[in-house]
Amino acid sequence: MSCFEAKKKVVKAKIVENTEIAKDIYKIVLRAKEVTNGAKAGQFVNVYLNNKSLLLPRPISICELEGDNITLVYGVVGQGTKELSSYTEGEEIKLSSANGNGFNLEDMDCVLSDNKDKVVLLVAGGIGVPPMLELAKTIRKKEDDEYKRNRIRLIAVIGFREEPFLQRELQNYCDKVYIATDNGSVGFHGNVVKLIEKEDIQIDYCYSCGPKVMLKALTNYCIEEKIQNKQKVIPLQVSMEERMGCGYGACVGCICKIKEKDIENNCEKIVLKKVCKDGPVFFGNEVVFDE
């Protein structure tokens, strides 16, 4: 009994900062060494609320990791995030270890291995933007460390309803940040896919996070359309969202339909994967978007 050591934990983390960075968008910085340790872009943490009537954890993507600090950026959309926004510096909340698979950088390595300069595109909408920051940082760092030979042109295309956020932070790591808003108040008037089309961005690899409709449209743009037009498909990773029970793989609440090659029978079959455990990141061409 005594020799068991937990690989995962729920820990208490002290709030270092919790400020509104755009209308109803908050940035919370938490000190939690046990959480940051080994965590990576595209993973998420479960945030547990102090309000005893709201029991389920809120899954929030890692926006930034810096030493023992983890930054989350969240939108106030319901009771739980409203409550979260009321917590102040110095208070403690409970937080899980980083969960999920995170973005797959090895796959990108393969695509980029042919030694030419490449365009990597980050596409995100609304509260899908936060995980792109740690991802951009990671890719830049990777480039510095590993890809000394060839340069990555890192472009972000981010969409918002009205007010953009994290655009400046992304500019620190991206060569170019395009902004789209639904009402045209800032940047392009329309959605991110339209913006990509308009700018005719030549994409070698694509990562994305945002509402399902956006991910579906983007998958269509990067994969289905290319297949139809007999062009080379654009490799795409999508970070999926689903209502969760446990957020760590115990309840099978958060499934996503994934196409899988059935090697035995040499056909394609659909399997149910857990967003919290097997995801949240999947390849765009695997996901069955049924809505």
Binding site: M1, F4, A6, K7, K8, K9, V10, Y48, K52, S53, L54, L55, L56, P57, S96, E242, R243, M244, G245, C246, Y248, G249, A250, C251, V252, G253, C254, I255, C256, L272, K277, D290
Partner: protein, 303 residues
Amino acid sequence: MSKLDLKVNLCGVKLENPITTASGTFSARESGAYYDINELGAVITKGVASVPWDGNPTPRIAETYGGMINAVGLQNPGIDYFIKEEIPYLKNFNTKIIVNVAGRTIEEYCSVAEKLNDTDIDMMEINISCPNVKEGGIGFGTSTDMAAKVTKGVRAVSKKPIIIKLTPNVTDITEIAKAVESEGADCVSLINTLLGMKIDVNRKRPVVCNKMGGFSGPAIKPVAVRMVYQVRKAVNIPIIGLGGIMTGEDVVEFIMAGADAVSVGTAALINPTAPVDILKELKIYMEKHGFKTIREIREAFCE
């Protein structure tokens, strides 16, 4: 905490302590990342059927005041996969294994039970109370007659002790408990989830795709304690009590009401280490009140 003896005997199966995991809220690999499974009295697995089931579409989960609704709908990989992949993995641990069984017909329950006969599990729990599937499940659990028939059928083919899991969505749970006892159930577990519903007033539709779902968590505990209390007076077989257990003192409440062992469900979704935390709290309670065995707790209850 040296002198405590937490052992309980569940129709011949000896558990090191009364804490088990409620079906559907435990996954050996995932839960095992948070705590040492060897500490549990027993694990009760997610329901498994004769063939794989897809379960319901998402959203499957809704949060309610002090509780939650799930409409997972018994997604499972089927008994053959389960016997091949899950049981061997569970055998790595030094705890009792109770397999929860789902079915749409009596034949399906029986076919799973038969396949489990030759495996190295300790007991099986027959779920006749899932509110999330159209056929079987709760349909069996709300009818005294059907509950009796399923029990009779499974009892006839099974070589393992069988636990019948009862639904709270009935007028008189003691009637169902008595019926399954008389058909040979070795044990009953209660309660499964209440049938509940939540509407999203912003999106103006039910939160879970299936509209209604199984309502669990601390909110439902008073109903669960009441039913354990009632069933204890109605039958002589052991009872696994569950429904909203969040703390060691909640376990004591169930034991006083008449439970022989308990399961921790929703609490483990909210706090992954809940089952072992609760075990610790139970020990602290026993120390504080001078109880040395689980039986002493039960006997201290005075109505």
